[in-house]
Amino acid sequence: MTYGQLPYDIAHLLGGAMLLLSFVLLYQRRVQAVINAFAMQGAVLAMAAAWQGAMQSAPELYLTALVAFTAKAVLIPLALRAIVRRLNLHRAVETALGIGASMMAGVAVVALAILVALPITTGARAIAREDLALALSVVLLGMLMMITRRNAISQVVGLMSLENGLVLAAVGVAGMPLVVELSTAALVLVVFVVAGVFVFQIRERFDSVDTGAFAANHGEDAFEPEPEEASTAPPGAPPAAQRGDAG
């Protein structure tokens, strides 16, 4: 398949939609909106997987699509909403990097992804380059979201968006073996994180799990040189007081 063919164009379109949704995720200021955008991305991913299944006539991809839709478009967003409600979290997204700045960083990251993907596949299959650039962008944007957002929900969403990028890449390659298993395993990982957020009652951010006040020094005392540490070696002769012939 090449440019101009409908199957490819649709796959491409779906990939582009995911990238767009990644930007939307990055752009949102309210937690609710972030969750909604994520659910949409999950739905688009499911559609992309299903489309690829139809195109490659690989029925297992329908399973992937089903799993992705169920988990990412329905169950996980619901769970996240429940968490937000239950824990009475802030409704606004706290950013470590301003929205504008993170958008710009996102554009830069996408540019890098394209730059990296450009020299690849020279000559072989030009379209793989596009697929790769899209998936890579989604992955990197997910990661960017994890580090530019302070609240736990946004960070979890970032991780899941990253994982969406993985699955997008996996379903996009023709004949990828174990694709169902791998995408499911990746999903399990994400579910674990969500469960962790739930179990550990992480209200605000990853960094401060609210299970108590963690020592600032991660279990270690503040560094204070010990007596033995203070002098690596004593001087040659301790100035001992001596009475005696002073010459």
């Binding site: 890098l112 730059l115 450009l118 990661m143 580090i147 960094d207 991660h218 009475r243």
Partner: protein, 674 residues
């Protein structure tokens, strides 16, 4: 021969293992040390046989070794010479330990291991085995230094010691790496076949000097030595100074003179000469300032190691200038001095151990007058100290005579810069020798002469029967080595051959040592000198006693008219005797203030005030301030910086990872674009 050597090595390892259960009982400790005596004697004998035979044939391939090959053992002249040395000193030290097993059980198992490590280093015929033995030796001796770890200063000493050992490994391994990369193999035969040149060779020189030098105790990496030697039990100090430092010298000689090939330029000698001469002076001066018997001896070791390295440096330079006989002279001086120092320093450390046990202290200011209570120990000590002070006709002088002859011939290299360096080296060596004499005099005079300075010291007694032999044997050896340096050097012929090539001939003829070249060479005839001295002494005594027949009479001390001590102070006021600080005063003022930043402070109360006057003296080793302290500061500063990363939150950790990923991707893009 090599099979026998392997068996001895196996015996030592077996002893080390057996020592673990045996350590609890004194009889067990005796047994282990007795085994060590036997093993050391066997090693010395092996060394002797190999020297007589001129080599032990092709290397022995051990059935085990590093995972990429086999360990190789070989004994050439150089190995055999040093093997003989550690055999002799090891046997003396073990024998002493047999007489007085160390108190701590923890000091037993590492001892045979220590000996085995040294022997393995000497017999190694590939770089891996050599460094394996070298580091094993360091580790075992660290355990010995740390065996009495209840005391803080011992722990500090042990810590610094092992760190320095790690430093020497961190330098020696790359040094051999540079050689091996050039040669394509670790065996000495392969290394010899492809000697390095240019910058590569310079790197080997620098790393070798740093690595082996720090282990031997060359300035400015000697700071550990005055701490570590005293911390160990006496027989271990004896072995560390007498044998272990020599093993480091062996590595230096093997690396620079043998493995780097004969084609190295003249200037190679210069760093060794400079470092050696500076160590000699610093060590000798510091031994004049210290107040602890074993520390004095340890500093004197720095001085003697400096002499040996000067000899090696001169040998390198002479070889570079195509002066074969002079190179043999310098190398012969180094080898002979290594042996001599090994024996007399072993003796002195053993004496220090006896003094410590008998008089209860190592501090000079608590000792005194021991010649009355321990006449035999005092005699042995005098022999050792006279040798250390380079007095004829004892052993120390023979080798220092050779060394001075080599230095005085330094002008023959024809390179003005090196000539000036050699002249300065001559001055420094002479100064070090005189300072050593001053230090030994101070030590003997304060410890054995005069009056006791403490009640515990007054209650000292002569050493036991077995221990006595442990002192007498090395003392006799010291005398013999002094009288027979000629035959000994002739014996060292194979060693010189492995350092300088087959053509090298030992600077000795019969019983005489030969300095310089050609007909005009100077001679040193120790045996003749001894006979002349003895004859003259005999005649003198007979003459004087004929003219002056009256027996001596005893009376109170004159002391320039001072009054007698009161009854309640049977030895007089101990503090009216010269003290360790007082004896050090002239040199402290003359040299110490500039070299060691020595300070003195006298506090005299005003007239009428009954408080005692106080006198404080102290100094800092320049290496401490210029090398160790900045290194520690730098380490802590960098560590503090790296530590900031640890307080990162998870988000920042992720950011760092993300940044790495992006950087790698950008790098990839850039690389592929080009």
């Amino acid at each position: 021969m090599l099979t026998a050597f392997s068996l001895v090595l196996a015996l030592l390892l077996l002893l080390a293992v057996a020592a673990v259960p045996l350590a609890q009982r004194p009889a067990g400790a005796r047994l282990v040390h007795g085994g060590c005596v036997a093993a050391c004697l066997a090693l010395a004998l092996l060394g002797l046989v190999v020297l007589l035979a001129g080599g032990a044939g092709p290397p022995l391939v051990l059935p085990f070794g590093p995972p990429w090959g086999h360990a190789l053992l070989a004994l050439d002249g150089l190995s055999a010479w040093f093997l003989m040395l550690i055999g002799i000193t090891g046997a003396s030290a073990s024998f002493y330990a047999m007489a007085h097993p160390p108190v701590r059980p923890a000091a037993l198992p590492p001892f045979p291991l220590f000996l085995a490590g040294m022997a393995l280093t000497l017999a190694a015929a590939d770089a891996f085995t050599l460094l394996f033995g070298f580091e094993l030796m360091s580790l075992a001796s660290w355990a010995l230094v740390a065996s009495d770890h209840a005391q803080l200063e011992n722990r500090r000493a042990a810590r610094l010691y092992l760190m320095m050992a790690a430093l020497s490994a961190a330098c020696l391994v790359p040094a051999f790496g540079l050689l091996a990369g050039h040669a394509g193999g670790f065996s000495f035969a392969a290394l010899r076949a492809a000697p390095p040149s240019g910058w590569l060779a310079g790197g080997v020189l620098l790393l070798g000097l740093l690595g082996a030098g720090s282990k031997a105790g060359l300035a400015p990496l000697h700071v550990w030595l005055p701490l570590a030697y005293p911390a160990a039990p006496a027989h271990v100090s004896a072995l560390m100074s007498g044998a272990m430092a020599k093993v480091a010298i062996y590595v230096l000689a093997r690396l620079l003179l043998d493995l780097c090939g004969p084609a190295q330029p003249l200037w190679w000698g210069a760093p060794l000469l400079v470092v050696g001469a500076c160590s000699a002076v610093l060590g000798a001066l510091r031994s004049n300032l210290e107040a602890d018997v074993k520390v004095v001896l340890a500093c004197s070791s720095i001085e003697n190691i400096g002499f040996i390295v000067v000899g090696l440096g001169l040998a390198l330079a002479f070889r570079g200038a195509d002066l074969g006989p002079l190179a043999a002279l310098a190398a012969g001086a180094a080898l002979l001095h290594a042996l001599n120092h090994g024996v007399f320093k072993t003796l002195l450390f053993l004496v220090a151990g006896s003094v410590q046990r008998s008089a209860g202290s190592r501090r000079i200011d608590r000792l005194g007058g021991l010649i009355h209570a321990m006449p035999l120990t005092a005699t042995c000590a005098l022999v050792g100290m006279a040798a250390a002070a380079a007095l004829p006709p004892l052993s120390g002088f023979a080798s220092e005579w050779l060394l001075l002859q080599a230095l005085l011939a330094g002008w023959r290299t024809g390179d003005v810069a090196f000539q000036v360096l050699a002249a300065a080296g001559t001055a420094l060596a002479a100064m070090a020798a005189a300072l050593a004499a001053a230090a030994m005099l101070r030590l003997f005079g304060l410890v054995f002469l005069g009056r006791p300075r403490s009640p515990r010291g007054a209650g000292a007694h002569e050493v036991g029967r077995l221990e006595r032999w442990a002192l007498v044997v090395p003392a006799v050896l010291t005398v013999l080595l002094g009288l027979l340096p000629g035959p000994l050097l002739a014996l060292a012929q194979p060693a010189l051959a492995s350092l300088l090539g087959a053509g090298a001939s030992a600077p000795a003829r019969g019983f005489a040592l030969l300095g310089g070249t050609g007909d005009a060479a100077a001679w040193y005839l120790p045996l003749t000198l001894a006979v002349v001295l003895a004859l003259a002494g005999l005649v003198l005594v007979l003459l004087v006693r004929a003219r002056s027949p009256l027996e001596t009479q005893r009376g109170p001390v004159w002391n320039g008219g001072f009054i007698n001590p009161p009854e309640h102070l049977p030895f007089g006021d101990p503090l009216s005797q010269p003290s360790a600080a007082g004896m050090a005063q002239p040199l402290r003022r003359m040299l110490g203030t500039s070299l060691f930043a020595a300070t003195e402070e006298v506090r005299l109360p005003p007239p009428g005030d009954t408080r005692v006057a106080t006198y404080q003296a102290g100094f800092t080793d320049p290496a401490q301030g210029w090398v160790v302290a900045p290194a520690a500061w730098l380490r802590d500063a960098v560590a503090a910086r790296t530590e900031r990363m640890r307080d990162f939150t998870i988000r920042r950790c992720l950011s760092l990872g993300f940044a790495t990923l992006l950087a790698l991707l950008a790098l990839l893009a850039w690389l592929e674009a080009h």
